[in-house]
């Protein structure tokens, strides 16, 4: 029973990390129909910003973490101005190559600037271990869970009840029709990109202290985030979040019940199985073409 509860918690915390990265990815696709292959590298950039603010500037974690999210929002503005706004109306092949190229450039730039050696990011919550009876968890991990819940609740409420959120949903449904009724599509594109980048910033600020900061830190988590977005129904934020938690729990379950050797095979095998029966993902809807 102890192991079950421990692995449940392990699965949830891993799922929360995938969900934080997957959310931005799903947002960009869901609203702007752009697959951002550089999204994982935005998470890496956020982790490096956090490292610089802590280790170089000397800010305390509680100041550095929100500032990281803020700076990533600014990075989102730049990303929109330099990349997204230029490819948003172009064919998907150009969108794909441009974000893939950005991903490669960001990884290699990080290697050139910081070297391939990972760096440690200090958070005071890392050293606070909460003892919940038979289960122990670091306060930083609890912060990740809480941050995930709060940020997703804010995203849900924002999309559902604010004017900007409603406009974002309208653009997601039909970009041309949204423009016809007076919605500023470029502004919504900018807001969406900023929110997606802020989620990457939040992921970096919360998750980086648990691990290490390095140029390739996003590679594995990005693959899992992509899997979550695909399984959830490409572009469906709610679906991506649910799928991310399912992946985290599935990993913990397969580690416990089967073998760690097959964890990835089981997760991606499950993804294939879901897509066989639901080609549009768990929450995706079929679209009539033509």
């Amino acid at each position: 029973m102890d192991l079950l509860f421990t692995q449940l918690l392990n699965g949830l915390t891993a799922g929360a990390e995938y969900a934080l990265v997957a959310a931005g990815l799903a947002l960009l696709f869901g609203i702007l129909q752009i697959v951002n292959f550089a999204h994982g590298e935005f998470y890496m950039l956020a982790a490096f910003i956090l490292y610089v603010l802590l280790a170089v500037v000397g800010l305390p974690y509680y100041a550095a973490a929100p500032l990281t999210v803020l700076l990533m929002a600014c990075a989102g503005v730049l990303f929109y101005a330099i990349v997204i706004s230029r490819v948003i109306s172009r064919p998907w092949q150009i969108q794909l190559i441009s974000t893939l190229a950005l991903s490669i450039v960001m990884i290699n730039l990080a290697i050139v600037l910081s070297g391939p050696t990972p760096r440690y990011v200090e958070s005071p919550l890392n050293n606070v271990i909460l003892d919940l009876g038979s289960v122990r968890i670091s306060a930083q991990r609890v912060l990740v869970l809480l941050g995930t819940i709060v940020s997703f609740a804010a995203l849900y409420l924002g999309l559902k009840y604010t004017r900007t959120g409603k406009a974002m949903r309208a653009v997601a449904q039909n970009r041309e029709a949204a423009a016809v009724v007076g919605i500023g599509v470029p502004v919504i594109g900018l807001v969406t990109t900023v929110v997606a980048a802020s989620f990457a910033g939040l992921a970096g600020a919360l998750i980086a202290p648990l691990y290490a900061v390095g140029p390739t830190m996003a590679v594995l988590v990005n693959i899992k985030a992509f899997a979550a977005v695909i399984v959830g129904g490409f572009g469906n934020v709610k679906g991506a979040i649910v799928a991310a938690f399912v992946i985290g729990l599935l990993e913990a379950a397969s580690t416990t019940l089967i073998s760690t050797e097959y964890t990835d095979a089981i997760v991606f095998g499950g993804m294939i199985l879901i897509l066989l029966f639901r080609p549009n993902g768990l929450f995706g809807k079929a679209v009539r073409v033509g």
């Binding site: 192991l3 392990n10 990390e17 440690y120 122990r136 290490a212 390739t216 594995l220 416990t256």
Partner: protein, 303 residues
């Protein structure tokens, strides 16, 4: 000197070896430092160029048991290390271990070796698990391992993975001994632990460690401001080994290959003399983290 990036992967090794042989047309290859890249690259040595390669960091036993006449290894392999390290683990009072390895040629090769060597000494191997390098969360695996109540975890992985293991082991309050191969004792791993004292008690079997017998170490620090990484240090000794080979056989490709067979030198890390499988037997270093610092417990002769 030309440099090729093997990306520490079999495909990267194949590409890097081909680049060095066919494009750069080098006379000798130092590397790779990774088992997977060496195993991926070494078949290219058989395609007529007659260029020798000397690995200084790959430990998978297959590299020298494959019978490739141009592949040499000047660092210890895992089969040799396991003979001493398994005995050390037994002598430390360990009756059972769980093996946790990175899922690549290094980790799989090492896990295979210890799954045989430990039971031969009546140390039970309770299980063996593998993780992908760069995996962020080892908690699920460690929770499962803890359930089996082994006396120790035997870990094979790179410094960042090891630091993660140590930190999450503390988080889960798993109180077992930790033995390792792959870089848990390095400055990089200690730094990434956050609090290096979290590693206290960990013992690593290392094919290189900083010792006073190596003036290169302090000279390197004086020049570059930091101590050399273990692969960098071993690459230096590999270069000295090539120098000995050139002295013995000349600087041609054929001469270097013949000269390597004749090398009989004593370097600061121990003797370098290759056997019929082109494997050398320098010293093994048993290193323990004590009070947040890596200290060489013992230097073991392996020849």
């Amino acid at each position: 000197m030309v440099i090729a990036d093997d990306e520490c992967t079999p495909a990267g090794g194949a590409s890097a070896f081909r680049n060095l042989l066919e494009v750069q047309q080098v006379d000798v290859i130092l590397g790779s430092g990774c088992s997977g890249a060496t195993l991926g690259g070494m078949p290219a040595l058989l395609e007529g160029a007659e260029v020798s390669a000397i690995t200084y960091g790959s430990t998978n036993p297959k590299i020298t048991s494959a019978g490739n006449p141009f592949m040499w290894r000047m660092n210890l392999n895992d089969a040799t290390i396991a003979k001493s390290f398994s005995q050390y683990i037994l002598d430390d009072g360990v009756k059972s271990v769980h093996i946790l390895s990175v899922n690549n040629d290094f980790g799989r090769g090492a896990a295979d070796v210890y799954q045989k060597s430990l039971p031969e000494l009546d140390v039970e191997v309770k299980g063996s698990d593998f993780f992908t390098t760069g995996t962020a969360d080892l908690r699920s695996m460690m929770s499962k391992i803890a359930q089996g109540k082994p006396d120790a975890i035997l870990f094979f992985g790179e410094p960042p993975d090891c630091a993660l293991l140590v930190r999450q082991k503390r988080e889960l309050n798993i109180d077992v001994k930790l033995f390792s191969r792959g870089g848990c004792y390095t400055d990089e791993a200690l730094h990434l632990m956050g609090d290096p004292k979290l590693g206290n008690g960990l013992t690593e079997a290392a094919y290189w460690a900083r010792t006073p017998e190596q003036p290169m170490v302090e000279a390197f620090k004086a020049t570059y401001g930091d101590y050399p990484a273990y692969n960098a240090a071993l690459a230096y000794y590999a270069m000295l080994t090539v120098n000995e080979a050139v002295k013995a056989g000349g600087a041609s490709r054929e001469g270097i290959n013949k000269g390597l067979a004749e090398v009989d030198a004593v370097l600061d890390i121990g003797p370098i003399k290759f056997d019929e499988t082109r494997q050398a037997y320098p010293n093994l270093f048993l290193v323990r983290i004590d009070d947040g610092e890596s200290k060489v417990l013992k230097t073991v002769t392996t020849h």
